[in-house]
């Protein structure tokens, strides 16, 4: 028996607006029309600076998605995809400048082939497919207690010029951020997980604040289709502010906005 859930009508309208705006801007790109100017995310500029510094110091670039930072079967999958886009960009830069890059793999075994594929793609795009070394992908198994000492040891053993730590990170990984700092590395990172945001504010030279990591994934891809979608997100934010203010005003006026919207 098929029945429509009317109580979620607001959510449905929201989905239609979301897909509608993304589709609209994709079409704009196809028609070669001008898109609104987007601000540059400061942390993305710092990546090239960090890779260059690592090259000057003769030390490798380290990249980590977090100890359990690559979920591909939960609501955090968006973070994983964005972090992989940043990984591909970092790999491309490292390959271009000839800096060694060490990848600290997350515990999720199912994500490893995907991560390896993204790194290989980065080397291929830089025109140096032979520079890929599988031995520079380190796996530490399950949980942070195994991951953090492993990464720490790698910093001490191989040295660290730039440490990128971006993905679904948890607060328990703070020691490796601080360890990179102690070893004189430039530290860049961020997570859309709010509860772990503070560790980046404390230990990073440059950080992706909140959803900046998700936007950076598209911005660094140099793909117009992906960057156009960021414009849609800005429109959603304006709509959200309108709904918040409008809803407050209506509630004050005695109109039950909350129940009308099915919230």
């Amino acid at each position: 028996m098929v029945a429509i859930e009317t109580k979620y009508w607001m959510e449905f309208v929201w989905y239609v607006i979301m897909f509608g705006t993304v589709y609209y801007y994709l079409k704009k790109v196809e028609r070669n029309e001008k898109l609104p100017e987007l601000r540059t995310i400061p942390a993305t500029l710092a990546i090239e600076e960090g890779v260059g510094r690592a090259l000057e110091m003769g030390k490798p670039v380290h990249y980590s998605l977090g100890s359990d930072g690559a979920p591909i079967m939960s609501s955090s999958v968006g973070t994983t995809i964005a972090a992989l886009a940043v990984l591909k960009y970092t790999t491309r830069l490292s390959a271009k400048y000839g800096t060694r890059m060490i990848m600290h793999l997350p515990s999720q075994g199912e994500a490893i082939p995907m991560i390896e594929g993204v790194i290989r793609e980065g080397y291929i795009e830089a025109g140096k497919p032979d520079a890929f070394q599988r031995g520079d992908m380190h796996y530490y198994g399950y949980l942070t207690a195994a991951f953090s000492p492993g990464v720490y040891t790698s910093f001490v053993r191989e040295g660290v010029g730039l440490f990128m730590h971006a993905g679904s990170v948890i607060t328990y990984e703070f020691p490796i951020l601080e360890a990179a700092k102690i070893n004189n590395a430039i530290v860049i990172g961020g997570t859309p997980r709010w509860t772990a945001t503070y560790i980046f504010a404390m230990a990073c030279d440059h950080m992706f604040i909140g959803e900046e990591l998700l936007a950076a994934g598209a911005a660094l891809s140099e793909n117009k289709y992906l960057t156009s979608s960021i414009v849609s997100e800005e429109i959603w934010k304006y709509i959200a502010v309108l709904l918040l203010v409008g809803g407050l005003v209506l509630q004050f006026m005695g109109i039950p906005f909350k129940s009308l919207a099915g919230l």
């Binding site: 993304v22 999958v77 993204v118 198994g141 709010w194 998700l214 891809s221 979608s229």
Partner: protein, 224 residues
């Protein structure tokens, strides 16, 4: 070549659309077929995840083996051998039918030998590292919480007021600290937290939209 490109580039996107759209529809339409589809996919997620853990273990040992072969510094060999020894021991005891508990249908993971390995190595090291985190938090706080600029100064003052508001002596001599600390938490923090959370949700939804429309190709091989 064309079939290879189809498998590597287009098939993943088609699979995502075939899986995601019915699940999205399940939210707005009540239908037994959709519900069954959702439940079955949920079970498959668990199966794939379990197999993937196994693959991760193989990858780990493979990595250790390659590190042994490639590393010129032979001083590292005892450490790598120790890692492999502990890993295999855990695996053998945990998977062994000799230690199986047939009443709960579990292999050796409840056996005292396994628990000893686990607590003796993993548990102790885990606690040590957890303790280390707080020391590092202290050193980072010392570096960060300073009167460097307006934002840093506000952060420092807010942190100090919020921390000291629960201290009896400060409550006694500075009674205004308690309501101010609560205000920082309930108004300042919660307002910023909600705004950040909404933006993060939008960012995540945007990645989902791009994937469903077949435009997000980060995880799809494009230079085949």
């Amino acid at each position: 070549m064309a079939s290879r490109n189809f498998i590597r580039r287009d098939l993943p996107l088609i699979l995502v659309a075939l899986t995601a759209f019915p699940i999205l529809l399940n939210r707005f339409v009540t239908d037994d077929l959709l519900k069954n589809y959702w439940t079955t996919l949920g079970s498959w997620t668990s199966y794939i995840s379990m197999i993937a853990w196994g693959l991760g273990v193989i990858y780990l040992f493979n990595g250790e083996y390659h590190a042994l072969q490639m590393n010129k510094d032979k001083g590292i060999v005892p450490y790598l051998m120790f890692g492999i020894l502990v890993g295999f021991s855990l695996l053998l005891v945990g998977m062994s039918i000799l230690y199986a508990d047939w009443t709960t249908m579990q292999l050796g993971i409840r056996h005292e030998s396994y628990v000893w390995w686990y607590n003796g190595f993993y548990g102790a090291q885990s606690q040590a590292f957890y303790g280390l985190m707080f020391l590092y938090l202290m050193s980072a706080s010392y570096r960060m919480l300073r009167f460097r600029n307006l934002e840093a100064s506000i952060l420092l003052l807010s942190g100090v007021i919020y921390t000291l508001r629960n201290t009896p002596i400060f409550n006694l001599y500075f009674p205004w600290m308690m309501p101010l600390g609560e205000w920082i938490n309930n108004i300042g923090y919660t307002g910023g937290y909600n705004a950040a959370l909404i933006c993060m949700a939008f960012g995540s939804l945007l990645v989902g939209c791009r994937q469903l429309l077949g435009r997000e190709r980060t995880a799809v091989e494009v230079t085949a």
